[in-house]
Symmetry: D2
Subunit: 319 residues, 4 copies
């Protein structure tokens, strides 16, 4: 019985920093159209959260010349767990060091994944304290249901582009203890996509191959709503606001996520999604591997994957 | 920094054995009305599962003179985790011993909680292998979506009655590593209800006070469906089948579960529920405590809790 | 073949004038919580509409000492149809006369029903012209989907209290050409409720017995949303706003309407409802008669009808 | 005041006869996958209905060498109305004559539209009498909710291909009294599509241009379900059964129908759809005209219309 135990050192994907060249328009998109709440400002950044996100923020929106990913972060399950992960990251040689200058949480250890995306991991956090006008009627809820726009509930996952999916995926398993739930392997053996979780969500992070071989790019960030009908309603609302709908609502074969892909005004792809009651409860979930032929079938109900889904990332590198 | 780390030794509530004096009618209820699949028979028991339950079974239906709970079980996250929990249970003095005569999983350690409910914990399991006619179109799904009755997806939680809620709750925290997410404490300090989880569901087990001071009784077992609309549809279907609807569909204030309470033909209360996208992701979720006054307000949208909800349990002890 | 042809002279319930002693709070309720749009003001009245109501308004909110019904109106299917109905009303002796001082529509003929509720019928109408910021993305929609509060779509029906249900119901059949789709007849032969339609909705108007024998009172006004999930969401939102929820969401046995009953701040009962895809398409639909015993069963899924549903009306007469 | 009054002589689209070269497989599709009920057999035909269709049948499935449309029928609003329509049809020169050999309804007048589709109109009908096992719990419902497959509720509309849309559309307005709710007119003035109603549904019949200039072909038949979620669930179920999904679920810009297009085993296109609470209540609804440019935008949320949607019809004429 020398089998390796699953690692439970990371609790969940905690927040994502999005860069945007159009900060005002992006803020309008997230606050009005998506229904998020602003919880702070610092420098060129505005902090936002979904109505049931329990931390100070799950989205940090930062003005920048190009769209893309600033950094993203995981929350650890305890102080000891945090130190175990930091030790593992340092062993990987990709560590940067401790930082404590971010709003909303305590000391974070900064590092990069092999593809160059910037990450943080921390334990101490600031629980969101709703002001009187945003206090929920039910005290087991982080803040009031907004009844505004798409009403996104909570951060769900991030999807990264990477020149070498396998290297990035292996790092996340080994250094962070992520579990690999689904994967795309083409006929030539190349790994085209990987879906990893640290909790019962079927994924906290996905990695897709960057067709341009670029580094550190973002595919999309996703917030969860409560039902597929909420995703459809988000599409109705985006239509009214003139938001660019890239694809969906439709159902992915992979992970069965019911998705709606949008481009926020800054150019970053943003997803509104629902997973139904699907959870990965098995601690030893065997990775589901999708072949090249299966991938070519398109989405669950037969929709062909739109071309831009394979190419568009931020910052943009395509001509 | 001597704080205690959360325990991740149990993966999830694994299955429940329900006793029924009307085995044929109960089987019809679970298979036809609820849309579950039979996966085996042994002695006086029939094994059943929801369409996305990954194990051999999540419900064991056993003929008996009285309705009630046979036993229920947790799956551990690893062999080592299992042994750690067994050691903790044995320390509590409530252990019974190892058993290996159950279909669908490996060696299980049997024990009782302070109130007398029989439990098991095990790690090795038999993954459900769908026969050809039940094979799903998408291979990340345990079996085919049935399109029959209420189409319950997966086991969600169990709710127990206990004469002493506090004692039972403390045992589950200490011996099993459950996390207490919500609780009812009355003005006199008595604990009337407790909700505990071992994963990201907001509860795997709930404990409610047994008004009759009886022991080892069951309040209800719950399966999850994908949306609130699915719960409403389940009510439509139960109406057609003449199933007794005790309460709902409505939304609990506690845990915000959208519920439908039924009595299956054997007399056990059964719930069809949906949680939206609500997950307990925080590893240090502070227990939400509901007061006597809050409890008296009834359900989330103002429905007064029906009297039988406070009294009916199985086996029956009320006159 | 001397059978009477169905009358198609009235197109639909057109608008309702609600009286409110708290005009500001009522306006906030309708505009913010229910998501309606203001389309005009005149004197003590504010005109409102749901996002897909095609006329200038469907709700006229008028400041008054007591809550209750100002008047309600039907739109005729043509000028000739209007004149036919006016002739029939005049024959009944309940006619008042022509008026042309209302915003949003042309000449209306005013009259009373036997119980004393004030009605109008007209043909010429002002189609709602959305200003730029409320123009919809799809031109077959009256105005932009608001993404605000309960997002009620369109006026659905009105429910009146009457001391003598039969007399009021017979007048609506004979003078207005309404079709009686459902009815409650108690064991003593007394008619306790009647549901009448002029179109394919299963009812435009319902009449319930006034327990106090009062006259001209309102039971409630109802707006339709697109799905049962929208009704549930409206309940979530009302909970946040502290709106009084009298009953629901639940499903009526009668007409199978999925309902949520609220009291708007002025005291009038207001319903958010959905009928699924149910339409009365048969021109000769035989009236469904519910007995006293059936009525006592409560709502479709077993909810006992709340006491206030049988007593509360506006203006209030109960002590 | 010499304006023409709207005609209310036809109550609703009543039934459709589908021809199928694979009668057993088609029957399985409609009865098991779509959840319809068989209500009779005669010769090579099986009669079917949705669970809330009030007449004996709404679908007649007839074995034939090629798929396509046998005939379709309207129910009139009265005997007198039927005679008025027969007179108008006879004036058009397209009448065939009376027939009384069909199950489930009384004497029908048979005729053709200019494109050659065979139609009937009748008044007397046989109301569906549910046998004991299909009797509904609520007596205002035609039969029991099946809880099987897609659970389609009722016939909604038919979509025809015609070589000359304008001629066919004009006939339906003039001879049948249909109201034209939406229309596609290309830049060259050619009419590419027309949507017509006889009731408050936004269409009972649609006509699309036959790209092959063929005659009498069928584009699709549509049944309504209660919500968009039901349409999504129908897609989940079709995926499991291997039913060919041509397009959707998605939302049409035209009429805003939430659609799922399938090919039943015989080759006919079949749609499962939901319209939300959208009704055409205005008696003088001005036709919404979509331009060539608007049509090229694709569906409401940006999905490009799939090529086969413009070409596939039954019987097949494309290579």
């Amino acid at each position: 019985m020398t089998e390796v135990e699953p690692i439970y050192d990371l609790a969940h994907l905690a927040h994502v920093e999005l860069l945007t060249p159009t900060p005002d328009e992006s803020l309008h998109f997230f606050a009005e159209v998506m229904g998020m709440t602003e919880s702070g400002r610092q420098g060129d950044s505005v902090y936002l959260r979904g109505w049931d996100d329990y931390e100070h923020h799950t989205l940090k929106l930062t003005a920048a010349e190009q769209p893309g990913l600033g950094h993203y972060a995981f929350r650890a399950t305890s102080r000891a767990a945090l130190l175990r992960r930091v030790a593992a990251i340092e062993r990987s040689g990709l560590g940067i060091g401790w930082t404590d200058d971010e709003m909303g949480h305590g000391p974070a250890y900064e590092f990069r994944d092999p593809d160059g995306h910037r990450l943080q991991v921390y334990y101490e956090t600031e629980w969101y304290q709703a002001p009187a006008e945003l206090r929920p009627a039910l005290k087991n809820q982080a803040s009031r249901f907004p009844g505004r726009g798409a009403n996104v509930r909570r951060l769900d996952h991030i999807n990264l582009l990477a020149a070498d999916v396998s290297a990035n995926r292996a790092f996340m398993q080994e250094a962070l203890g992520c579990r690999l739930t689904e994967q795309i392997i083409f006929d030539d053996g190349s790994e085209k996509g990987a879906w990893l979780t640290v909790c019962n969500k079927s994924y906290d992070v996905a990695i897709a191959e960057d067709r341009y071989g670029a580094h550190g790019r973002l595919h999309h960030v996703t917030y969860a709503v409560d039902s597929r009908e909420d995703v459809l309603r988000a599409a109705d609302i985006c239509l009214e606001y003139g938001v660019y709908i890239e694809s969906g609502p439709h159902k992915h074969a992979i992970q069965q996520t019911f998705f709606l892909y949008l481009y926020e005004p800054g150019g970053n792809r943003f997803e509104v999604a629902n997973a139904g009651a699907r959870l990965i409860l098995a601690p030893d979930w065997p990775t589901i591997v999708w072949s090249e032929a299966e991938r070519k079938k398109g989405q669950a109900w037969g929709l062909q994957t739109i071309a831009s889904f394979h190419t568009h990332g931020t910052p943009r590198v395509e001509q």
